[in-house]
Subunit: 338 residues, 4 copies
Amino acid sequence: MTVRVGVIGAGWIGHEHIRRLTHTVTGARVTAVTDIDAARAEAAAAPFGARVLSDGAAVVASDDVDAVLVTSWGPTHAEHVLNAIAAGKPVFCEKPLATTAEDCLRIIEAETAHGRRLVQVGFMRRYDAGYRQMKQVIDSGRIGEPLIVHCAHRNPTVPQSYTSAMAALDTAVHEVDVLRWLLDDEIVSTQVVTPRATGKRFAHLKDPQIMLFETAKGVRIDLEVFVNCQYGYDIQCEAVGEEGLVRLPDPAAVGVRTSAQHTTEVLTDWVGRFRDAFDTEFREWIATLAAGDEPTGPSAWDGYAATVITAATVEALETGRVVATDLKPRPTLYGGTA
Amino acid sequence: MTVRVGVIGAGWIGHEHIRRLTHTVTGARVTAVTDIDAARAEAAAAPFGARVLSDGAAVVASDDVDAVLVTSWGPTHAEHVLNAIAAGKPVFCEKPLATTAEDCLRIIEAETAHGRRLVQVGFMRRYDAGYRQMKQVIDSGRIGEPLIVHCAHRNPTVPQSYTSAMAALDTAVHEVDVLRWLLDDEIVSTQVVTPRATGKRFAHLKDPQIMLFETAKGVRIDLEVFVNCQYGYDIQCEAVGEEGLVRLPDPAAVGVRTSAQHTTEVLTDWVGRFRDAFDTEFREWIATLAAGDEPTGPSAWDGYAATVITAATVEALETGRVVATDLKPRPTLYGGTA
Amino acid sequence: MTVRVGVIGAGWIGHEHIRRLTHTVTGARVTAVTDIDAARAEAAAAPFGARVLSDGAAVVASDDVDAVLVTSWGPTHAEHVLNAIAAGKPVFCEKPLATTAEDCLRIIEAETAHGRRLVQVGFMRRYDAGYRQMKQVIDSGRIGEPLIVHCAHRNPTVPQSYTSAMAALDTAVHEVDVLRWLLDDEIVSTQVVTPRATGKRFAHLKDPQIMLFETAKGVRIDLEVFVNCQYGYDIQCEAVGEEGLVRLPDPAAVGVRTSAQHTTEVLTDWVGRFRDAFDTEFREWIATLAAGDEPTGPSAWDGYAATVITAATVEALETGRVVATDLKPRPTLYGGTA
Amino acid sequence: MTVRVGVIGAGWIGHEHIRRLTHTVTGARVTAVTDIDAARAEAAAAPFGARVLSDGAAVVASDDVDAVLVTSWGPTHAEHVLNAIAAGKPVFCEKPLATTAEDCLRIIEAETAHGRRLVQVGFMRRYDAGYRQMKQVIDSGRIGEPLIVHCAHRNPTVPQSYTSAMAALDTAVHEVDVLRWLLDDEIVSTQVVTPRATGKRFAHLKDPQIMLFETAKGVRIDLEVFVNCQYGYDIQCEAVGEEGLVRLPDPAAVGVRTSAQHTTEVLTDWVGRFRDAFDTEFREWIATLAAGDEPTGPSAWDGYAATVITAATVEALETGRVVATDLKPRPTLYGGTA
C-alpha cells in the first residue's frame, strides 16, 4: 500500500522532503502540495506529479491524502496540525510543533481527545546512526547511570537574519530533543553563559553561547552553540556515566597524508551530516503508517517540551538567570501519568 | 516509470535484492522470480507480489520484465546473461559474470554485437562512500601518481566448503575490481605468498594468503586475504602516491571508554559493512534504466577481467609462480581500442 | 656545573623527585634531605648519597645546597619558600605555593623585594608535549582568538580522605594553571555546577563537579572534574577559537583488534600520564639554574593566582554563587604593571 | 658510579650521542673523542670537557675510558669493536656492526671467546614506546601466533648519494632488527618487488621498493621502503595474528580543525620520531654498565643477522630472485645452541 502524502509548505525543506518521499523512500507518493506562493507550490508539485491545492485545509481535506507533511512557516504549524488531527489523519510536522507552549498544548489536548497518536515532529537526530549507537550503549548500562553530557553544535556561518534567540529556538532545539530521548529524562532548568563573541559574526548576535541544562534525574548538560565557527558543521556529543563514557563518532572520511599533515575532511553543512538520518526518519514514518500503526518518532509531547525548553533558554539568555522549565504533567498517551 | 525486474535465483542474495528492490529502492518492482527450487522461488516471490516462473528463459522472455537480475549459482550466470542480451534487456549479474574467461568473452562478443551496454556486474564496492572518497582524492591528483596499494580483506571465519582457490575467486575478486576502478589501470600479473597458516581454520585451507598484483602502469598491490581472522570483518585499503597517501576509513562507530580501554566496535559481517553500497548500487542502476541510459557500473569487460585475474591468481597459488593475466585487447564499447 | 639540591619533605612525591634529580635529570645532585619523619628522610637520602638534616631551615642554610626543593605538607610551603628567598636561593615548590592568598602575597612581596625571580611552582602540565603543541597552535593564530575551552579531568577513584573542596584545590588547580598559561589570560570569576553524584564514591563527596571559569578577555571555560570515573585517568582539553579549534591528544597507544573490538589502552594513573612532563620540568629548571638564569616556569604570581582561584571555586561550590576572584594587580616582576 | 665513555667518530650522530650522554643520560661522562678529522673531534669534545685522542685504538686503550662508543664510518666499525673486545671493554656500535658478514663473524668469535657479552648494536627501535607496547601485546598472546606483519618506512626525501642498495642496508635494516625482536623469530628469505618509481627521486634510484621477508616460523612480512615519499617521515607496523592484530601508533599530536579539515601533524624527520627511543637506549645501556651487567640490547649476533639479511635483500633486488639468508647456527652466548 502506498501512503499518499499531502505537503503544506514548498520551501527548501518541503521541496527536499517531496523529493525524498518520491525518490528515496519506498511506499510513499506525494499527491498534493500547497504553499502561500502558488508558483513555488507548482514548481514543487509538477515534477513529481502532484496536484497544487489552494491551502493547507484543502490538503488536509483531500481524499487522496492519507497523511500530511507540514513544512510551512513555523507560526502556521499549529493550525495545520490541528486540522489534521481534526480530520483523523497522521501528520508529520517539521520542528517546531508550534511556536508557543499554548499552541503545543492545544495540539496535545486534541490528540489526547482523539485517543491515539497522529502527530510526529521532525527531529531527525534520533534517526542518526551515531546517536542510535550512543543510545544502545547508554541503555545497555555499559557506562552506568549518565551524569553529564558535553555537546557542541557548530555551523560555519549564519545569515544576517539569524538572531541570538535562534541559537536556542532553531539550533539547540535539536540537542534538546535528542538528549531528552538519549537520556530518557526531562530538562528541568536552563541557563546560558555568553563567552566573548566571535568577531566573525553580524554585530547584533551573541555567538557563541554555552547552554547549561539540568535534568529531572540531575544530569548536567553543557552545550556549546557556535553558529559562526567558520571551520565546518560539527556536532559533538559525549555522555559521561558512573562507569565510563560514550562519544558520538565523526562521520567516516578518508585520511589523507600530504605535506606533513594527516587530514580528514570536516563537513560544512547539516544536509550532508544528517541526510541518512532524514531518509531513515521518513522511511520509518511511512512504514509505520503503511502498517496502520501509530507513529513511533518524536511526539507532540516532545514537540511541546522542545518549545518550552528552548523558550526558557531564550529567557535565560536575556535575563542571565537560571530558568525552570515548568513543564505540565505528561499525559498517559505519551507515557506519562497525567 | 517503474522498472519491472525479473529475478533469476532466489537464494540468500537474491532474496536480499528482491527485498531491496521492493523496500529500499524507489522506481523498481520485482515482477517475476525463478529458482531451481520452486518452493524457494515461491517464498521469495509471494511476499512481494511477484509471480514465479519456470526458469530463467521464461523470466527473460516475460513481457512484464524490463530488466533481469541474475543471482543464481555462478556457473549458470553466462547462460542467463546471454539470454538477456539476446532479448535486448538490461541485466544485472551478481559476480562472477561467468566462471570461465571463455564465457565472459562470449558475453562481451554478444554485447558488442548488440552495440550498446546492457550488462552490469555486481561489484558493490565502487558504490561504497569510502572508496568513492578515495577515488576522488586519487583523481584530484592530491597524492600524485599512485605507486603502491596496500589492502587487507578479513573475514571472521568461513565454512568448511570454502577452498583455498575461493580466496581469489570469491574474496579477492572484490579488491580486483575496485582497484582496477580506483586506479583506472589494469592488473597484468599476479603472485601469491602463503604465510604460515592459522591454526583456526579447516585443515585443507591455505589461510591467510598474500596476493601481489602488478598493474600495467607499474603499480604494485599487496592484498592480505585472511578469512578466518576471528576478530571481525575488516576491509583496509591504502593507496600510496608520489606526493602522499589516502586511506579507506573504518566505519564510523561510537567510542566507549570503560575499564581502562577506549573501544570502538569492529563489524563482523560484510552485509553490514556494505549495506549502503548495495543500496546505492541498485538505486543508481534503476535510475539509469528508468532514464533509458546504458548502465554505468562495472561492465562485462570488468567481469571478464575479474574472472581472468582471479583465475590467474589461483594458478599463481597452485604453482608458486608469477602469472601473467594476458587479457585480450579491450573493445571500444568498454573504452578500449580493439 | 652540578646544581646541588636540598629537599624538604621526603614523602612519595619528594622521594620521586629525588630519584628523578639523581637518575633522570643531568646536572643535578641531591645533597641534603629533611622530613618531619627522620626515618623517612633517611630512607630517601641514603640510596642517593645525600645527608639528612634536622629541618627545612637547615636545608636552606646548608653550604652544599644551591637550590631548594619543597615537597613537604602544603601548609608548610610558605615558610620554606620564604626562608629560601631570604637566603637568596632558588626554590622549586610543589603546588600549592601556599595554602592561603596571604601567604602567597608574602612570598611575592619578598621575591619582589629581592628583585629577581627565585621561585618556581610545580605545575608540570606546562611541560607536557601535548599542551605545548596546543599553545603553539593558539599562539600561531591558526584558530583565531580563543573563545571557549572545554576540559575534563578524570581519575579512576580517590581515597576516603579526599573532600569536595579538593576537587578545586588539588585537582582543578592543574587546569587553572595550565589554562592561564595556554590563554595568556586571567581567570576573573568561577562557578560550580553539581550534577547528580556518582554512586561510586564515598558518601560525603560531591563528584563529579562542573566548574565554569570566565577570563579577563571573556573566554569561558567548562571543566568537568570527576575523580571516581572508574574507567581511567583521562585529561581532555579543547580550545575553540574564532576560526577553528585545537584538541589535546590522547597518549599514543597501540591499537589492538580482537573479538569485534578495536581497543586502545586508557591510562589509570597520573604518574604515567605526566612522567615526561615532570622530567622536562626538572630538566629545564636545573638547566636554567646551571646557566645562572631566573627560572622560567610557573612563578610565585602563578602560585598566588592558583591559590586564589581555587579558593574562590571552593566558595562557589559551597555557596552556589558565581564568585569573583579579585586578584591583586600583578607586579612588574611577573610581567604586570603594579 | 659514572661510566666514562670514549667516542670514536664525531660526525653528526657521534656529536648527537656525546650531547645525549652529557645532558640527557645520567651516570655517564664522555672523556675521550677521536675522529679522522681532528678539528671535528675537537669541536665535539671541547664543549663537553672531553680530550681528543689520536685514533680509535687510543680511545679504546685510554685509562679513563670504561666503555667505547663507535660512531665512525661503517667500514671501520669492525676494527674498533674488535679492539674493544680485545681490551675487555663494553662497546656500543652504531649500526651496522660491520659491513660484511665475515667481519661480523670475527666479532662474534672474539666475543664468544671472551665468554661474556660486551657488544651492543645501535638499533634504537627496540626502545621506542610504541614498539615495546606491540611486543607486550604479542608476547601476551592476545593476538595469537603472529602470521603476517605489514610495515612501511617512509622518508620525505634522500640526497643524491643515496643508492638503491641503501634502501635495504641503511633503511630497512631497522625493520629487520625490530621485527626479529618483535617476533622472536629469524628471517630466512628475502625478495624485493619494485613498483613504478616515483618521479620525485634522483634518476638512478629504485624508489619505492617492497621487501618481502619470510621467517623461520613462516611469518610473512611486507615492508614498503619509500624514501622520497615527500609528505613526511612515517613508520607503520601492523602485526596480524591468529586471533587479532596490533598496530604501532602514530606519534601523539594535537588535532586542529580549521577550513573544513581536521588535521594532525606528520613528522618530517627520524630524529624527532625516535628521540625518546635513543634516550632510553643509552639510559638503559649506561644503567646496565653501571650495574656491572652484560648489555641487554641488540647483540653482535643481531648485528650479524642484520648485515646478512640486508645484504641478501640487496642481492634479491639486483637479481629479482628470492634469496635465502643462510645464517650460521647461533652460538649459546646469544641464546642459541651452536
